[in-house]
Symmetry: C2
Subunit: 275 residues, 2 copies
């Protein structure tokens, strides 16, 4: 694990590391924000959207002020494997930047695109072995592809005690974003897709959260392709409580995230500190 960036930010430090992952078979970057009193502090994972690296959220969301005030650590992985030998595609919805946080089953993707295992096993082990954050007070959140990613990871893994999302892609079966991914990573296998589809998982899951918090802008240019209302219906049907805020005038980008990041950090922090 190699430190490649370190900046004092608010009362803590924003760092970026590089490490070789045996899961994705390549070097991976991830960012860590440590508040000034980080021993046993709660920990949040943030999963970013298509085209992002670990840099977008740490540069644009402004989360550090609130992570610092709430004394909570935040880990931000990259959105996919990357590098000269890593399969990629000109379509931004496929390849680098568009892993969908799943395990690809098809060649040439399956050698590296194991981001589900990376996010839920490899990275938590690495963090646990190298940082002193709490191992039990752990939450996950994300944006767009990463909002759906946070929900699917949270529903299947006891590690995560809280979950929230900005503008999440809730239906991998219906969204236009997932078509190329589905054909290429999963060979058009619907059973495979079900493993990562928030709406399918909420129907099947025995795990319930106190709430799932979702914020979305009503001027989101991709609103119809997120299927948030379908997700709400399924949650209502199975008795999963939600905190849904639909915000007039906000779009899909980081100005929206920056406007409501304080609420998400506070939401996780309040619950995790009382575990």
């Amino acid at each position: 694990m190699e430190l490649i960036e370190k900046h004092r930010s608010h009362r803590g430090y924003q760092e970026v590391y590089k490490h070789f992952s045996l899961t994705t078979n390549c070097n991976m970057n991830f960012a860590v924000y440590s508040p000034d009193e980080s021993k046993d502090c709660p920990l949040l994972y943030f999963l970013s959207g298509i085209t992002c690296t670990e840099q977008n959220f740490i540069q644009k969301s402004g989360f550090q002020k609130f992570a610092s005030e709430n004394q909570i650590a935040v880990v931000v992985p990259d959105t996919s494997p990357r590098g000269e030998d890593i399969p990629d595609n000109e379509n931004y919805k496929l390849g680098c930047g568009a892993s969908f946080y799943l395990n690809a089953t098809q060649d040439p993707w399956s050698k590296n695109y194991k981001m589900y295992d990376y996010i839920t096993k490899d990275l938590p082990n690495l963090i646990s072995n190298n940082f002193q954050f709490s191992k039990s007070k752990v939450g996950i959140f994300g944006h767009s592809m990463g909002g759906g990613g946070a929900i699917q990871c949270a529903l299947k893994n006891d590690l995560y005690k809280t979950v929230s999302a900005f503008s999440p892609i809730c239906s991998l079966h219906k969204t236009e974003f997932a078509k190329e991914m589905f054909d290429n990573y999963l060979g058009n296998n619907h059973d495979q897709l079900d493993l990562y589809d928030p709406i399918t998982l909420i129907k099947k899951s025995n795990k319930k959260f106190e709430n799932i918090k979702i914020d979305v802008g009503l001027k989101d240019e991709f609103l119809k392709d997120l299927y948030i209302d379908d997700f709400i219906s399924e949650c209502n049907a199975v008795g999963q409580n939600l905190i849904i805020n639909k915000h007039e005038g906000y779009d899909h980008g980081y100005y929206f995230i920056n406007s409501f990041i304080k609420d998400h950090i506070s939401y996780h922090s309040t619950i995790l500190k009382n575990i």
Copy 2:
């Protein structure tokens, strides 16, 4: 004036415009944040550092939250003329991104690199004619090259009632950053350089501010090349009050600005609202 970006951000809007400037003889971009009640609200200009465009500050500083809370507008110009026909240089300290907010006197730079007139005359006229912000409650601040730029503009123009800076370049005569600029834009003319040099201007100026607020990080990788202590000495000599904060551990970049942007917005807002 053409609107090229508009995003709801906190309770206001972050916009970016393009217009043709007769001063720089090219199209210029600038960003405007308008709080939700922008009629007659105070207005701040922010001048960015070398290599930046109007985008860096609006994406990374997180100022919008505090501009929104304080009901203050913020205009962020680009750092130089730009375009296919605009003289440039491979050295990042010269040409596009490195105007030093002065009027170049030498060919080929003098046709376009008239950023001092652009910032202090052209842009304020444009803003005054197209927005309803206060025309008297106006302040200026900036970072690095733009921190020095804010100070020199403020000392020479009654328009600006408040001034502050992050990590400003205070001596154009001494700093390594200005060598190529001095040779090329100003033909090695020290009298010309004096017109834009914060330390020279503070010695000569009859204009006094209640305070000049300066924040700098003590791990700033360019600290020795900023000559802030020289500026402090000159201010003390002429009786210009300062609010200087030197911050342990912070560097020159946007994580530093983001950490203290709230204080700068509050500083200007408090004074400007009471004018």
